[in-house]
Structure formats: structure tokens, C-alpha cells
Amino acid sequence: QRASDGEVRIIYWQAPSIMNPFLSGGTKDIEAASMVIEPLARYDETGTLVPWLVEEIPTVDNGGVSEDMTQITWNITPGITWSDGTPFTSEDVRFTYEYCTDPKGGCAQLTKFETVKSVETPDEHTVVVTFNEPTPNPYGPFVGGESPILQAAQFAECLGAAASTCTEANFNPIGTGPFVVTEFRPNDVISLKANENFRDPNKPAFATATLKGGGDAAAAGTAVMETGEFDYAWNLQLAPDVIARMEEGGQGEAVAGFGPLMERIMLNNTNPDPSLGPDERSVIRPHPFLQEPAVYKAMSMAIDRPLLVEIGYGQAGRVTCSWVPAPEPYAIDVEGCDTQDIEGAKALLDEAGIVDTDGDGVREHEGTPLSIVYQTSTNAVRQDFQALIKDWWEQIGMEVELRNIDSSVFFGGDPGSPDTFQKFYADVEMYANTYNGTDPQVYFGNALCDKAPRPETQWQGENISRFCSEEYDALHEELTQTADLEERYRIGRELNRMVYEQGGMIPLVHRGRLSAKSNTLGGVVLNVWDSELWNVADWYREE
């Protein structure tokens, strides 16, 4: 029964600052917006596409996708209305496309539309998206929480440079979702109420919703699991023992789900020596010793991944050595990934002639001591990892200096800062990365030679480790040409293995998303492939 269960209180320790995902791209904003505005289709908790505002998912089989893979036709379910009561039409969908592709708008989801040639609306309920070239995965535009549909009427004046002046629209978008914003306080709290015109007359069960932001993960966990002040807490990046202790509070429980998010150590394939100039540092190949297979293999062997999981993530982590750990068919199984072998690592190094020649406890490779700088962003779990891994690496005769950098600097792309992860002015660095949806093709592109950040590209580029292999590039090219799923899986596994074995990175932990829900909140289905709040319409109060 709609609006029968009172209020649902959700806490996001990162506060949403805008309700328009096209202008922000931050996860918190996308998820907050997903309570109000919706895409045509989205992924469910298993990563499967489900129709949302359309009748069915278009495929080649049902004729929704053209044979040459250049066109996809969406059929909007009739009768859907915006929260202001006006009908939802294909015109809104086309407008959303125009909105995001306006060159002055600075749309965060531009990649979704880059390959789109045109969006046509033959009638009120039909949207035809045409791509520039055959697209094996045509489910980018208007799919998932990142590209919901905006109301054309509301945003008509907000195209291009005017986008940021539409404060009212950005804070209070008219949507088709289960809730409407009553008050938006940026970076603080969002008050919402049930959408009167929601398509399912029985939903949402809650009359109002509050989405509070701020504080830290620990406080959010406490509020849900210990004091019961809130019903749902998002993304609790906390040590497992802390989570376990909070669960003892008896008010709620933690729920976990796994996507392709993976914590890894990137190995710098270029030389980060500070004595090189700023434009040569981390540009000139090779690294003095990190590309030596014995070195990076030994470093990987020295790591006790099960222990890392236990210490850092508990039920929200799994041991993996696969760069793309999900969907399952792409993942590889590496032998010895789950066992630590310090002695083996030492032996490997000894064998390769990398021994301690001057007796300072640090091995030398051709005269260069195995002395590295290990950087990461500031975060309690990462710092514990750093400490542990440093310890292990020192056991195999390396010297490790730790550095942690504030994440706003580390992940900010400021070309002027020496501390960004793209610049990689260090030997190894640790962070997590993932990709959207279920198709890793673009993500695999992150190890292509020409994606390496360098001065000419203003230090932009996704190939952080500067991994470069002709073989890899060629195989990736092949992937883009292949449509057959099984074949794609095979190529994917091959790419995965190449990066691991040729010293691109040391995968550590396959990370899940851990959120907490109150015991009295029902209907929560943790979804890592889309917004966590994707099915907030189904949530209800348990007695």
C-alpha cells in the first residue's frame, strides 16, 4: 500500500550535492538521483538488464537491435507519467541525449553518448538510437543509473552553458521514480515524499524518505546497526571487526554484493626517478627493476591475500588475481594466488641473480637497490594494507617507503600536482577500479600502450601502469571485432592473464560493496551493477 509505512531514513556518509547525474558523475549523486529519475532499463542484482520504463529489452532476437548492430529501438511503456502528471514521451528521451551532448554542457556521462549518431522519435513511445558503427553492446545510452531520463519541459532552458544556472531543476528534477524531492539541501540532507503519479499505485510503501549525508562510514554504520536511527547506510568501508562489532548492536545487519571492483597494486613500467625532469619522470621506460619478471612475481608471491581479505574486507572481499574479476566468465584462476610464499619469492629472486651484494639487507638488481615508494590514497584499510605489504616485501629483501595522499588530490586529475595517481611519481601504487555494466571491453582498453598518461596528454589516460605490449594491443583489437560471447570471454581471460603475467599490476582483493540495513527494513536487494537504491520503490517496513 502506497505511503503506508511512514518514513525511511537513509544515510550516505558522502553527502549528495546535486540531483542531476549528468552534471556530477559522483556515485553519491547518481544514487540519490535514482530515487527520482530513472533510465529506460537498468541492471538487476545479478547484472542482468531489466526493462524499467520500456516494455522489454531490445535484442537482435526480438528485433529491437538491428542486425548490423548499429541501431536499437526502445518501446516506452505507455501510461507512464512524470511526477507533475504530464506524460512521459520519447521526446524526453531525445532531449536527454541533446542535453548531455551539448558541447558546452560538460556532461559527465558523455561517453555513453559518444558513439551515438542520432536519436530519433518516430512516435511518442518509440526511441531509435543509431550508432556511428556496429556496437556489440548497444545498452549504453539511457541504461543504468548514470543516464536517466530528464524531463524536456523542465530542462529546456538548461542546455549547454546554462546548465549550472538551473539550480531549481538540478536540485529538484521532475522524474518518473517513486519519490519526489520536497527539500534539497546540498551536501546535507534530501527530503523526499512518495510520488503521487508513480506508475505502480501500491508503491512506494513509504510516505516520505530522508537521505542524510555527512560524517564518516563508521558513524553511518553505528546509526543503522547500533542505535537504529537510520534504516540504510551506504558503502561501509570499514574493517570487518568493526562491522562485526556494530552488528552486535542488534539493530541491523550488513549486506554485501560483488561487482567488478578490484583493489590492486599498479606496477610502474616507467622510471619515476625524481632526478629525471618532470616531463621525463614516469615517462621514460623501462623501470630500473620492476619489469623484471622475477621481481614482480616475487612481490606477488610475498602477499598473503587471504589475510588481506580478513583484515580489510571480511565478507566484502575475495581473493583474486584477476584484473577483471566479474562477470565470472572473464575471470582467470591463477595458481598460488591464495597462498603466501615468502621463501619461494626469495628463491625466485636469488635465482634471477637479484641478491643483496652490499649487505644492507636490500637486494640489488644490476646495482640498483630494490627500493620502492609505495603510494595510495588516505583510507584506514589501505593504510593497514600498506603496512602489511611493506612488511612482507621487506622480508624478501626490498626497501619500501610508504606515502599516502589525500584522495581529493590523488584521484583529482590536476596536471599541476605531482601526487595524482595518473602521474604515478612512485614505483607502485594501490587503488581500486571498476567499470560500469557487464561488458569489460572498454575497461580492457585501459592497458593499451597509447592510453598511458604522459605530458603530451596533460597526464590524462587510463593506462596508469604504462603497461605496453604489442601482443596485448592486437588481442584487444580482436575483442572489439568479436560479437560472439564465448569468444569474447576467451579473449578477455587472455587479456587478463597477460596483464597479470607481464607485470602490469598485482591484483589484491576483489572487493564487494558492503552496506547496512536496519532489521525492520524489508525489500532491500543490494545491487552493485547499478544504483543501490534501484528498487527503493519496493522497500517496506517489516513488523
Binding site: 568493526v242 562489532r245 617507503e401 589525500d406
Partner: protein, 330 residues
């Protein structure tokens, strides 16, 4: 009405004595002896000095007595409780090898306390002294040279409005590499942090000192010093500075506290020392999430910080009294 006292021959001497100089009752002693005697009478100061001495010795020679490596990870022995928990909880996981327990990675807490104390004390003292030097210098110059007063006070306003975090980030960006080259990763960061804390905390001292200098400058002995040809530099160093010592002492005590706390807040925000370099503030901040299971992890560094600050304050109080000859005389 009483009878007038009749003069007796002996009282002649009384009169002469009346015109003679009266000597102070106590024999003169060396200045520092005097200061020390006075200080010794101040109970709070003695407690403060004692505790500071203890802490300083503990962090300086502690590592030679308790030789455990604070960064040594011993994952099998993680989450140990301090030995004293065994008193009321016989089932607690304790061991004499880790008298104060261990953290979630099994690092020895006692060793961490010692190493953390070393860092915190060093940062606290260095930043406090630097900030005092800057504050006093600016305050004295602004108070003494009328022409510089306006500009310097406006500069104080400027620094008051500088946000510390971006400032630190700027400093880290600009200077980390050269400092790291010169002083090593920890030394470089130490210099950076100390400087930034000092640069953002000298303003109250400057204000207070300036006010006092303005008042003292009008006292006659400054004019007297000028009339005997004392140069401005010497007037400042010999006549003005000793007389503003007591507000400086107070600032010092508060400054040490703020420096230690600011450092911990910076570590907390992740812009401080490398993560494996313990400081009390960081130990405290890290342990807050596990406060319920392991209260000692917050209490030990918390108490250490508080006691240090407290002792500095008491010592400051005592020193102020002892250094002022007027009070000392009484």
C-alpha cells in the same frame, strides 16, 4: 593621649640608623639558584617538570629498553589487551610480551606509544617554539616600530583567514620533493608539518605580545635605556622581551597543546606523516572506531596528550612566577 617617648642616649643610634641604607634581609644568591628555589616551591610546576622529564626520557631512551619495533607486524598476536585487563577479565588475550597490547595488525602498543610520543613531542615542541618565535618577533616589531604596526597587524588578519588545509596541501606540493631529498621522507614531512602548524598559529601570540609591548614601551625605563644610548635592538632584547615573558609562557603552554592536537587532526585527515609513522594523535584517531572493544587504544594516547599539555601548562605557570623577580622576592 600618651606620654611622648623620652629620648635616651641609645636612641641616637636609632636615628642614624634611620638614615642608613637598609639591606635586604636575605643574602644575595645567584639568579638561577633563586629561580630554582622559587620553582621548587611551586607544586604544580614540580609535577609538570617531573612528568615532562619522565615523558621525554621515556620517548628518548625508551626504545633502548623496550626494543620492540613499533612497525613490526605480528598478525598472529593482533588485538591483544593490555596486561592489566587480566586483573578483572581472566579470559582476556594478554601477554607479557605486549604489556600494553597490540593493535589490529599486531603492532606492539607500548613501542607505538614510545615512537608516537617521540613524534608528537617533537612536532609539538618544534611547532610551538617556531610559532612563538614568529609570533613574538611580529608582535615585538609591530609594537615597537609604530610605522610597521599597521601593515603587520593587517598581515596578522591575513594569516588568521588562511585556511590551514589548502595551505598544507600547497606546501606539500611545492616543497615535499626538495625536503624529501634533503631530509628524508619523515624528516621532510616533519619540517613541513611543523612549519605549517607554526605559520597558522602564531597570530594570537603576536597580538598579545604587541599589546604588552605597546604598554611597556611607554614605561620610563625604556626611555631611560634610550637616553643611555641603548640601540633599538638591545632595548628589545634586554628590556622589552624579558618583560613580556609571562604572556609568552602562557602562549607556549597553549601552543604546545594546539600543536599536538593540530598534528593529530592533520594525520586524521590524511595529510600528515606517512601512515606507518605513529604519533599519539594518529593512534588516537585510528582507534576511535574501535573505542568500545579496545578503550585502552584511545585512552593511552589520549591521556598521554592530556598529561603532557597539563604539565606544560603547570610548568609554564611556575616558570612565569619564578622568572619574575618581583614575585620571586615575595
Amino acid at each position: 593621649m600618651t606620654e611622648p617617648v623620652v629620648a635616651s642616649p641609645a636612641t641616637d643610634e636609632v636615628a642614624i640608623e634611620a638614615l642608613r641604607d637598609r639591606e635586604p634581609s636575605r643574602p644575595p644568591r645567584s639568579q638561577w639558584r633563586d629561580v630554582w628555589d622559587q620553582l621548587r616551591k611551586h607544586k604544580g610546576a614540580m609535577f609538570g617538570a617531573g612528568f615532562l622529564l619522565f615523558i621525554t626520557l621515556a620517548v628518548l631512551i625508551g626504545p633502548f629498553i623496550w626494543t620492540a619495533d613499533p612497525q613490526q607486524i605480528d598478525i598472529r598476536n593482533k588485538d591483544m589487551r593490555p596486561i592489566y585487563t587480566a586483573l578483572w577479565d581472566s579470559g582476556a588475550k594478554v601477554s607479557w610480551a605486549k604489556p600494553l597490547g597490540s593493535d589490529q595488525l599486531g603492532r606492539d602498543q607500548l613501542a607505538q606509544m614510545i615512537a608516537g610520543g617521540r613524534a608528537s613531542m617533537a612536532v609539538g615542541w618544534a611547532a610551538m617554539i617556531l610559532s612563538l618565535v614568529i609570533g613574538t618577533a611580529i608582535g615585538v616589531i609591530a609594537g615597537y616600530f609604530k610605522r610597521l604596526d599597521g601593515p603587520l597587524m593587517r598581515m596578522t588578519d591575513l594569516f588568521l583567514s588562511l585556511p590551514i588545509l589548502p595551505l598544507l596541501l600547497v606546501a606539500v606540493t611545492l616543497f615535499r620533493q626538495p625536503l624529501r631529498a634533503g631530509f628524508g621522507p619523515e624528516g621532510g614531512m616533519f619540517i613541513l608539518i611543523v612549519t605549517v602548524i607554526a605559520v597558522t598559529s602564531w597570530m594570537p601570540t603576536a597580538r598579545i605580545v604587541r599589546g604588552d609591548i605597546l604598554a611597556i614601551k611607554e614605561r620610563e625605563f625604556v626611555l631611560a635605556a634610550r637616553s643611555i644610548g641603548t640601540t633599538s635592538r638591545r632595548i628589545i632584547s634586554r628590556h622589552l622581551l624579558p618583560n613580556v615573558l609571562s604572556p609568552i609562557m602562557v602562549s607556549a603552554a597553549l601552543g604546545l597543546a594546539t600543536a599536538i592536537i593540530t598534528e593529530s587532526a592533520l594525520s586524521f585527515l590524511g595529510v600528515g606523516f606517512p601512515s606507518d609513522f605513529p604519533t599519539w594523535g594518529k593512534m588516537l584517531a585510528d582507534a576511535v572506531t574501535r573505542m568500545e572493544q579496545f578503550p585502552e587504544r584511545v585512552l593511552l594516547p589520549g591521556i598521554a596528550i592530556s598529561l603532557t599539555v597539563l604539565s606544560v601548562n603547570y610548568l609554564g605557570d611556575g616558570l612565569r612566577d619564578a622568572l619574575d623577580p618581583r614575585i620571586r622576592g615575595r
